[in-house]
Symmetry: D2
């Protein structure tokens, strides 16, 4: 990379990235609001986050995982 | 929290959260694309990420930080 | 903080911290080796990490969590 | 992986991992203590963490990085 850079192109790229970062930040804020709303409705946010992860898993993979967890928990007496 | 929950309300909340998570994921993908684009233009992505952080700092705080870093680096010979 | 710092004290502190960081790094490497060993013995590392977390929880809290997870999973059909 | 696991071997592995995790936790606590000590001596912990990262870099790579940061900051007026 040569020691000089195209300042104008860098500025455009930085502005573009900052705009997208801002949108992502807004989504994160919306998520926080939703979790607070869920909490105010009496839901357990930690459990909601847990089931959100489970919903992203393939059904068979989840069933296999459930089996293994039961197996390991049984062996360890947890 | 009683042992029974309002399944319908939980489903609505989960769907709402998953929609926002999806939007955030799309922003993250857009960010990745932008960094790849910057790289293809010859920019150093690690440096871009560094200056993005600096741009979020208050000017005086950044000047103070620069001073301290120079002071510590001088003392340690880095 | 005055603009001058006690370079000698800073060096001592940095060395002390780097020594502890090194010890922590060695523990992390040992952990990786153990997980690899567990994998080679046919254990599922992801499940091992999951049950390690469960073992750190208080028994009653874990039982309550298990109940809630079953309740939420039932409501959502997962 | 067969549905049955060797419970005894699993217990041994879990105990081994928990011992190492405990050692790592102790290192992390020692690190926190050191940073608190540095703070009480008037050092800026955030700057200490920054220079700790710089010290881990190869001298030439660090010099190159410094150049690029100056170049990008100049182009962006930061």
């Amino acid at each position: 990379m040569t020691e000089i850079i195209e300042a104008e192109k860098l500025k455009q790229m930085i502005n573009k990235i900052e705009t997208i970062e801002q949108e992502r930040l807004e989504s994160s804020d919306l998520l926080k609001e939703s979790f607070n709303e869920a909490k105010s409705m009496g839901f357990d946010v930690k459990i909601i986050k847990h089931v959100l992860k489970l919903r992203k898993k393939d059904k068979d993979a989840l069933a296999e995982e459930d089996n293994l967890i039961d197996l390991y928990r049984g062996a360890l007496g947890i």
